[in-house]
């Protein structure tokens, strides 16, 4: 499976260099615009759900509200708390802003992936992909970047020299590190089926709806990934990091002016990126909806551009789902959050991964797939019962001996 960007295979010339620069510029501008529109979209949609009007003054439908807010924040006074660690305090917003943009680089933003096409397009006589970077490690890059993003929030809280931001960032760290495990394990299910790490390879494996990884991995990894991603983004119902009722404003309490705006931007940019990642991993990214031989084709558009339209449509659905979460779900308690992550999501994703791996092995060696699945389910059931027994035992001991910690 060839998945590297052919553009960068030969020696670097001016044309490829210019194309790469153009791609960087486009991805950056699109990222900023998407963030701006996402903030507006969220405020407008939530307003609709709560019977309000929402932003409606700046521009048509209030669409320029984010721009107005951004300009206002630019001109606000930039405060440094007196007990802040100045260097780290100044560094932290960038540590959360830059990874938010970097992760967007590996999303295939378009191209023709139908029938196993490689999604390559010819641009100014150069063969390339509509995607900023296609590194050999593919989705691992997204995981690496999201693990870097922890630093932004953690250091912001610590360097403020104030207790509420510190509490917020300690919570954030624990939450993001715990859910990263579930995120990675459900991702492994996708990788097991696609057999490649590269995002464009993952997309080109999902030709028809049956091949979409949400169906071929059996839905469970998708739900785990979705929940873990929401927790990783610190979005409601997992927004304990900035629980206003408990922590004033969370990790960013002491931030003002453009530094605050950077955190805000990063948060929404991460939401867009994570939606795009979910679409890429589970919903075929730029692939059109296709059942069997029937392809839902948009007339008049070239297939490569059509991919972009499909991707946008799919991402919008997920952005709406995230807004919907925020409008409807109450925040979890901290112990519920940790229980959900460690006692449910991680064991479930591990078990499901084992099941898929056993099936794959059975298919490779021509074993009876029903027997193998039955045996795996039996093993999983035993594991589940053992785990429940352990939980019951620990609950009993907690009652008789008091909590250990």
């Amino acid at each position: 499976m060839i998945a590297l960007d052919p553009l960068l295979q030969d020696d670097l010339l001016w044309a490829p260099l210019l194309i790469v620069l153009l791609k960087v510029l486009v991805v950056f501008v699109v990222g900023l615009l998407a963030t701006m529109l996402m903030v507006w979209f969220e405020r407008k949609a939530i307003a609709g759900m709560q019977n309000r009007i929402g932003p409606n003054k700046a521009g048509p439908f209030g669409i320029l509200q984010t721009l107005a807010d951004g300009i206002k924040l630019f001109f606000k006074e930039d405060l440094f708390p007196s007990r802040a660690d100045r260097f780290v305090f100044a560094l932290a917003p960038f540590l959360s802003f830059v990874p938010a943009f970097l992760a967007f680089a590996i999303i295939p933003l378009g191209g023709d992936f139908r029938n196993g096409s490689s999604g390559e397009v010819t641009l100014f006589g150069q063969v390339t992909r509509i995607q900023l970077a296609d590194p050999p490690i593919g989705v691992l890059f997204a995981l690496a970047i999201s693990s870097i993003a922890v630093y932004g929030i953690m250091l912001a809280g610590w360097s403020s020299g104030s207790k509420y931001p510190l509490l917020g960032s300690v919570r954030a760290t624990a939450q993001m590190v715990s859910y990263e495990a579930a995120l990675g394990l459900s991702l492994a299910c996708v990788l097991l089926l696609s057999g490649t790490l590269s995002t464009s390879g993952i997309v080109s494996a999902q030709t028809t709806i049956v091949d979409w990884h949400i169906i071929s991995t059996g839905i469970v990894p998708f739900f785990i990934f979705m929940i873990a991603a929401t927790a990783e983004l610190n979005r409601p119902p997992f927004d304990l990091v900035e629980a206003e009722q408990e922590l004033v404003g969370g990790f960013n309490t002491e931030y003002s002016s453009i530094r605050f705006a950077l955190f805000y931007l990063a948060e929404f940019m991460n939401t867009v990126t994570m939606s795009a990642l979910i679409v890429t991993l589970f919903f075929g990214g730029p692939q059109p909806i296709a059942v069997g031989n029937f392809v839902l084709d948009i007339p008049l558009l070239p297939n490569a551009l059509e991919g972009t339209v499909w991707l946008l449509a799919k991402i919008l659905v997920f952005l709406y789902i995230y807004i919907w979460f925020r409008a409807t779900l109450p925040r979890l308690r901290y112990d519920q959050l940790m229980d959900l992550g460690w006692k449910l999501l991680i064991p479930a994703s591990l078990g499901w991964f084992m099941l898929l791996a056993a099936q794959r092995l059975a298919r490779q060696n021509n074993w009876n797939i029903i027997v193998v699945t039955g045996a795996s389910i039996a093993v999983l059931l035993i594991c589940y019962l053992l785990m429940q027994a352990a939980f019951a035992r620990s609950a009993r001991e907690r009652e008789t001996q008091g909590t250990m910690f």
Binding site: I2, L4, I137, G138, L140, T173, S198
Partner: protein, 178 residues
């Protein structure tokens, strides 16, 4: 180009390593450690070891140093320590001997492996258009899960022992205090 990357990464690594030792504040020292780990990841990428680079960032920078920082913040040890007092007697002379020994081993290894260090990637499929982008991952997986599977499993047992030991220690301390 490769030389330039190497110099930059090596500078990152050295600056970070010096920072870990010199910076008085534990949080700053931990951040310097992140710099070092990133430099190593860059070097891995320069050697076409993309998978190792990703794992380096995910595991070391993303999990281990985050846990360091977490512990520093949670326990509130983020104050400057007094270096004059020695918690363990004879720790410093022993540390000097151990570090000299480590230096000796490293130098010996480099001198001994001098011939091998020059021929990069011989016998190894590098990721390119012919081998696909997962050449690294596939080869690593094959050697870990076939040739070195016992060592790999033993390492995982080691981790489990560490977890069990931690749980046991916290329980013991609490029960003893009662």
């Amino acid at each position: 180009m490769e030389f330039f990357v190497f110099v930059c990464a090596a500078l990152m690594i050295l600056l970070g390593a010096i920072g870990v030792i010199v910076r008085k504040h534990p949080v700053h020292a931990a951040l310097s450690l992140v710099l070092t780990l990133f430099g190593i990841a860059v070097l891995f990428v320069a050697q076409e070891a993309h998978f190792l680079a990703a794992v380096q960032v995910i595991v070391y920078a993303g999990a281990i140093v985050v846990l360091f920082l977490f512990v520093i913040m949670l326990l509130g040890v983020d104050r400057v320590e007094n270096l004059r007092t020695e918690p363990l007697t004879a720790q410093r002379p022993l540390a000097i001997i151990a570090s000299l020994g480590l230096l000796g081993v490293l130098v010996a290894a480099i001198v001994n492996g001098n011939g091998i260090l020059n021929e990069r990637g011989s016998g190894i499929n590098l990721p390119d258009l012919q081998n696909g982008s997962d050449a690294n991952t596939v080869q690593l997986a094959e050697s870990i899960f076939s040739q070195y599977v016992v060592a790999f499993e033993v390492t995982s047992v080691l981790l489990v022992i560490a977890v069990v030991g931690t749980v046991l220690l916290t329980r013991k301390a609490k029960l003893g205090a009662k």
